[in-house]
């Protein structure tokens, strides 16, 4: 994947006008990386009509108003029509548990539940989902208590580097809810939209089967 895959999406950070965002007292490693990435994407976009806004700067032109319920809390957002649901979750709402792998719908790292159904959030625009309910990996645990599938991933070594894991878990939650986790073969077939470069598949299948048996 080239750098431009990351930089061609509008990186303008628009701010939620309501809802809860934890205030940051210190600069995290991620904020610093974001600032570096923002500078790179500005350079890459030079000469393109729509300039991404600097973090904290004025919003990009012609944003649209979108309301969403994300992990149970109502959000009012101003989004650039070009922003994918994935970019809004990660960059605007700072819900960075959802990962960007391919940004092409091929890897499943960006899987979230949209109105209860699993989708790849990189392949849909946030403006298309006014009024939608979204669940991300951050919304699964009840306080300190992990979701049964999260616990099963730990118990069965369902990951190595962990990059694909949020997508695997969101997809697995849906796979179980759809009634498609009835056998290892079924789980393999119905989890095939989620790629694991570390090859943790045996643990992933075992974790989904285990959690399916408990629910």
């Amino acid at each position: 994947m080239s750098m431009s895959d990351h930089n061609d999406a509008p990186s303008g950070k628009t701010r939620p006008t309501s809802g809860t965002t934890a205030p940051r007292s210190t600069l995290s490693r991620r904020s610093i990386l974001q600032m570096a990435g923002g500078a790179a994407s500005l350079a890459a976009a030079a000469g393109v009509a729509a300039q991404p806004a600097l973090p904290g700067g004025p919003p990009v032109a012609s944003t649209m108003h979108v309301r969403m319920v994300v992990n149970g809390s109502a959000r009012q957002l101003e989004v650039d029509p070009r922003q994918s649901l994935l970019d809004v979750l990660r960059e605007t709402l700072d819900l960075t548990g959802t990962k960007k792998g391919c940004n092409q719908g091929a890897c499943g790292a960006c899987t979230v539940l949209l109105n209860g159904r699993r989708v790849t959030s990189c392949l849909t625009l946030a403006v298309m989902h006014d009024g939608a309910e979204i669940t991300t990996i951050e919304g699964l645990a009840q306080g300190d208590e992990l979701h049964p599938l999260q616990a099963a991933f730990i118990a069965h070594d369902g990951f190595q580097c962990g990059f694909c894991t949020p997508g695997q878990i969101m997809s697995g939650v849906a796979c179980i809810a759809e009634g498609h986790a009835t056998s290892p073969e079924q789980i393999q077939f119905w989890m095939s939209g989620n790629i694991c470069r570390c090859g943790a598949y045996p643990g992933i299948v075992a974790a989904v089967a285990d959690a399916a048996g408990r629910t």
């Binding site: 029509p81 994918s84 790849t120 392949l123 849909t124 077939f189």
Partner: protein, 325 residues
């Protein structure tokens, strides 16, 4: 991604009005957004049609009627699909991934763009993306490309699975446009590349696919979809076959055969169907008929294997449908 105007429409009339002046429909968006990000697609005005009431799936007598906005997963899981047209359900499940099937619409599936790697590579020649620029696939990496219906200007396959099933079952589609409504066979939606491969379908400006009708028939229930691919799931077909048989008294009364992965459009095999008619189902009959699938085949430098694989895939699918394997 380049800038565009975004408009959400609530009525068919508003949708058609916006598209008639250059607006581009978006439903699931799984093809379009990907290609917009690559700047292969550059619509200036997106018309979001997801609020239109066109997602219904229903039985009408023995016909299955599928709204153009019905999602692949919903069509596949619907009890009427399974009851009336199991071939459609099977072909849908073999396509894409669970996530994409939750997003992609039936109309959009038919209109999805080709998966030729040169199509999405802005620095490669591609007559579909940039008419007149040439075709990088003809002398390039073409193992996945077509052997039927190709021209000197384009050799890309049509990627849809369910379209193969719909063509085999003689489904029709109803569209509405600025000049009213019309209905025609799904098979006629797809153009051959000829010398204008950038023109892929026969819809007129502004036309909106409203619904697909799959006629019920005695053969609809004895039907199978077989997809051969490089991995067991979530992969495009190297070769696929949708077959449907009506047999009685040890004789094939009617056969329907269409194939995917080998043609520049979903490819109905009428000569194969004709060769099966009035014959007893069985391996020899299937093999003789399947050889006729190769009429006019033009393999490229890297896809000669499809010449072997195509008849074998048809034979295996016929055996599955005839339950004589």
């Amino acid at each position: 991604m380049l800038s565009f105007n975004f408009e959400k429409v609530r009525t068919e009339q508003d949708a058609i009005r916006a598209a008639a002046v250059g607006g581009r429909y978006i439903a699931g968006g799984t093809t379009l957004i990907d290609l917009m990000r690559e700047e292969v697609e550059r619509p200036e005005h997106l018309v979001d049609i997801n609020a239109l009431p066109m997602a219904d799936i229903r039985a009408d007598g023995f016909d299955l009627v599928i709204g153009a906005l019905a999602r692949m997963s919903d069509v596949a899981a619907h009890p009427e699909t399974k009851r009336l047209e199991p071939l459609v359900a099977e072909a849908l499940i073999e396509g894409a991934s669970p996530q994409l099937r939750n997003m992609a619409s039936t109309g959009g599936n038919l209109l999805q763009r080709v998966r030729c790697p040169y199509f999405r590579m802005l620095d490669a020649a591609c007559n579909k993306r940039d008419p007149g620029s040439g075709c990088s696939a003809i002398n390039g990496l073409n193992a996945g490309h077509a052997i039927l219906g190709t021209s000197d200007h384009c050799v890309a396959t049509h990627p849809s699975d369910v379209a193969v099933a719909l063509v085999a079952l003689e489904a029709t589609m109803r569209v509405k446009g600025p000049d009213g409504e019309r209905t025609f066979p799904v098979e006629e939606l797809f153009r051959l590349p000829g010398n204008a491969p950038h023109l892929e379908h026969t819809l007129r400006p502004g036309e909106l696919i409203v619904e697909i009708r799959v006629p019920g028939g005695p053969y609809a229930r004895q039907a199978r979809y077989l997809k051969v691919r490089d991995r067991a799931s979530y992969e495009f077909a190297l070769v696929s076959a949708a077959v449907a048989l009506e047999t009685a008294g040890g004789t094939i009364w009617q056969a329907r055969v269409a194939v995917g992965g080998v043609g520049t459009r979903p490819w109905r095999m009428r000569a194969v169907e004709e060769a099966l008619r009035d014959k007893p189902p069985g391996r020899n009959v299937f093999e003789a008929a399947a050889q006729l699938a190769l009429e006019g085949a033009r393999p490229l430098s890297h896809n000669h294997y499809k010449v072997e694989l195509l008849p074998r895939t048809i034979v295996r699918a016929l055996e599955m449908a005839g339950d004589v394997a």
